[in-house]
Symmetry: D2
Subunit: 347 residues, 4 copies
């Protein structure tokens, strides 16, 4: 196949927008035909992202100025809550990969509870496919609207899903101690995200009630075939990119750490982007930064029957834009690694 | 009191040595009369720590060149394992605050197991007082040899001790997910601690079997009056200083998060260096960096009966040199905050 | 002297305000009686600076709510341009150390040119003493209003002043390549100062026309007895604190690098805060961070007659709040190092 | 062309080795057939670079174990001084791109002076082509041995070469104030490169006599047709990657800043990797990190006739491994941007 699909990115002035562009620039089947950015409309891309100015990409415009009739695919990198109406207004022939949280929760009530308002596009929500490729590849293939998973849910779900699905760990008492780089908080100017406030120290935030919990719990419950509740504690780490999730769970009676490793290997050894580390090795976000890879380690805890899982991803790649491209590749039947087969950038 | 005690620092070319000097330079009752540093013996202090060169401090010498007869107090900041023989050889009139791990574990078998060789000074080990001032102030007052607590054990024990002592949380299933800055690893040149290897990312290390576990478990068991085992997972964070411990525990039947907060307030409201944050606030290592303070928050977890504790200290101050000075102040009956009453350095 | 002066800080919610508080908390002659913060008025200090919340300090209020009649000294840490009217309205018995740029330039025309509006308090401007203690100690002693020097001008002037005063270097062609940490840009939320925008990279800014040039040139011209123009290029470095200035100058005929070193030693060897490094050593901002010290090195350049000077300070201490306290100490005839004699915080 | 050249990397366990692998993994015409690493011989690549372990690459071996007869191209990423003998021993049919400094200086006396020993392969030195593609593309095309330029010389030379060649700036008095990330110092464990020693501060090093000066001066002298001496001051910046060079020069009589900009545009507008920024914009290393691009800005200085040039590159890409691949592409007549056309990784 030599022709390219015409692709528009909505919300191109944020970090996930920039990361989509970085990864798509060399994608053989994609042509970027439009970029929107509300506050920065009218500017050149180089004005908001000088590192992308040397490529021949469209200027930033208001979403109203874009012609969706000539477009094949839209990546939606708009803020949570604003996306559902925009997508509802797109022509029906357009495929959509949505990087916001708007279509991730299947339960409208859960959505309303966590996001503070009723969902504006319930029919689309029912149509949307939650695009964690390693578990939903077939559904993504035939989807028109893919809800791209969040960064915390991706890092948290990948190690746990096979263990719940195959009844290796207990369904209750799962603790996810998650650590994120700062780019996960976006590009809006906020005092608590200033360099001076972040560098040289770290903090916990959102203990006990973080927005990402319901998405994680939905994923885990699907795998377990039963309602799963988790304790999820996010921390802000002085690094630009990366998520590391340290997960504490308990083995079911009769199960061992070998069962854990076997289940993880069985689930992921054929996956291009999920890698189970050898025994004794522990993952670092350094080893996935800039890449679409996820590294996972499993080790016994100190307590009887306890297992500790550690997973790492780049929040902007496998946790957002890279996974969005992986979903696009699946939707179009291309090699799933096209455009996202780069190695981590280290050091 | 106007006279000053003559004080020697052994191992002055490491980070805890430098931090002792920074804090002692303005201490009204301390005169630094000797500094040892094996590899750097013969050098001026300015050669290893240019920021301390402007003070009028002794040159670095071999330990053999020091005259301990004219010395009142020794701070021992030597590597683990090398300290016990040195301290055993000191004149008996000399008081000692030992920052190594050599005298922290009361059980000789546990020591041998974790450090790989039999303890060389068992009598001294029996004499040593484990100097966590908030729980052992009276014993420290009359001690000649204080074993200064480790950084991870200090950050982990302070939030848990009152809760175990007063039967508010369960004794089993405690999980400590700890995050440390890089200075905790010392000043020796190692590839994995290079700037390029650390900046921009993070990792877990020592999952399931870290050396600090037995010290933490000794502290917690003392408070509980029963053997306590914990799961302890340390992480390396790209910051120079600071430890943040996120601790997961379960309330005993009938206990509430209010009981947790009350116990913490009762234990620490009169303490000069331990502070319980108001409900809804979470601690940051930024707010204790460079200071001897510890901030603690308690919040309910998502699961029924779960409690999450978050504590922060500066590993080089309350986790090492500051706490050593606090112990010295107690030993000599001085105001406990002398020399260590500075605020955190932020930003 | 045992009594304390009643001291108010205007603009206490910014970084220089916080640094004043950190340093003054343990000052033996200062009592903090009032704190203003326009946007944060009504809040507790702990709400804007949690690390200072454990001290017993006043709440933040609007400036109108402060009683200046009972106040001895005001530190003004307000934004440039807003200060002159505020100070003009203070009772005449109040001493003032102003950390803004409002009273630094003697020439009203230069002020208007660089700050875009006519000066609002010309009489005060004439009265103000430019408080670089190493050159204006006597004038500061009898001053009521001290204009505290800027961070770049402090780092740039200290190495050059003795060399211009004693005719050792040429008056033209001086180049100052300056590098600053991010705290110099303040605490206001701006996108270009976000952690994600700053960490991992660096940039030049303001090439050829930076606001600090006229203040530097005023200082140098005073020393030289002739108009001096400099080339000043500031850079933003991914670090919270610190300024390093690399200065290129040419020796006058017959002068040598030894003359440079001698002049620097003659000027500063008795100064408590300015230190000339031994030959072959180069300064690092690490060695002054958190302290009021300035380190200076002088070395020959590669070209005939060229000299390279390198100086470092902490922009928030010797470049702002520490120097302000040094000026206060001089105004009141106290030991000049009171409250600011701490060593650098390293690592 | 569908076949691939068999390629060996010597010194694959260092940062430039890793960066070569990252960039070559997706290069369509390259097959990695051997990797050497002296200290790490016998290990898997994943043991020294976990992020590269997921690709199917050879294990690390001693150089003696490699079969160069079946090899088309060798990238030499060995330490300075050790390379010349190795290359002299290779079969003559093998093409070489050498990333060390061993073949960069044409003058054997200069080499001996700066590197402390006589050159061991003078004939090869005469054969070697200094591979700065923008000025030596034709020579590289027919070269068998390319001496890949250093990082500082690349960043320093690109802005200056057109200005010296076309007689726009003076030949004397050029000052290069250069700032480098830490990866430029390599991966060997050294105390001064520890995270704790580097983060949060910066320093100058090597004032007046840095090893990179003669390479820069050779480049500039070639362009000027006359001997050029420069003042070069390197600084160590707390960032993993990136070089920013701030260059001060004086216009020749009658020349203007417009002449500077025109010469730069004329030299580089057709170059794929060198970009002249629009007036008023200043470069940041953020915008080239991870990429093979170089951004250059030119601005008038404050002094009459002064010009300030600012250039940025990634020291590991355009300053090392990316440029090496660019040279390989030229040697083989391929599209010059193959494998190195990625955008910068930001944030």
């Amino acid at each position: 196949m030599n022709s390219k699909i015409k692709t528009i990115i909505l919300g191109a002035s944020g970090y996930t927008g920039a990361e989509l562009l970085r990864l798509l620039i060399n994608h053989p089947h994609v042509e970027i035909t439009g970029l929107s950015a509300e506050r920065n409309a009218g500017q050149k891309l180089a004005d908001v992202f000088p590192h992308l100015g040397i490529y021949h990409l469209p200027d930033l415009v208001h979403i109203d100025e874009l012609n969706f009739m000539k477009c094949d695919l839209v990546f939606c990198a708009l803020p949570h809550g604003t996306t559902q109406k925009v997508i509802a207004g797109l022509p029906k022939h357009v495929n959509v990969v949505d990087l916001s949280a708007d279509f991730r929760l299947r339960d409208p009530q859960a959505y309303a509870e966590w996001y503070g308002h009723a969902h504006q596009a319930l029919e689309l929500q029912r149509e949307a496919v939650y695009g964690l490729p390693e578990v939903a590849r077939d559904a993504v293939k035939s989807a028109r609207l893919v809800a791209n998973p969040g960064c915390y849910p991706t890092a948290s779900s990948l190690p746990l899903l096979p263990l719940l699905k195959h009844n290796i760990i207990e369904r209750s008492g799962i603790i996810i101690d998650a650590k994120s780089g700062v780019s996960g908080a976006g590009r809006a100017a906020k005092q608590n995200l200033l360099y001076t406030e972040v560098t040289g120290g770290m903090s916990a935030y959102g203990v006990g009630n973080h927005r990402h919990s319901p998405e994680i719990e939905q994923n885990l419950s699907d795998a377990a075939g039963a309602q799963i509740n988790v304790t999820f504690t996010p921390h802000l780490i002085p690094m630009a990119r990366g998520i590391l999730a340290t997960i504490y769970a308990r083995l079911l009676p009769g199960k061992t750490i070998a069962d854990v490793r076997n289940a993880l290997h069985a689930a992921y050894d054929k996956e291009p982007f999920v890698h189970i580390l050898p025994e004794g090795k522990l993952p670092s976000t350094h080893h996935v930064a800039g890449s679409n890879h996820c590294h996972i380690a499993a080790a016994p805890g100190a307590g009887e029957g306890q297992v500790i899982l550690v997973s790492v991803i780049d929040n902007l790649v496998k946790g957002a834009s890279g996974q969005a491209i992986q979903n696009m590749n699946i939707m179009y039947g291309w090699d799933e690694t096209l455009g996202i087969n780069g190695a981590a950038v280290f050091p």
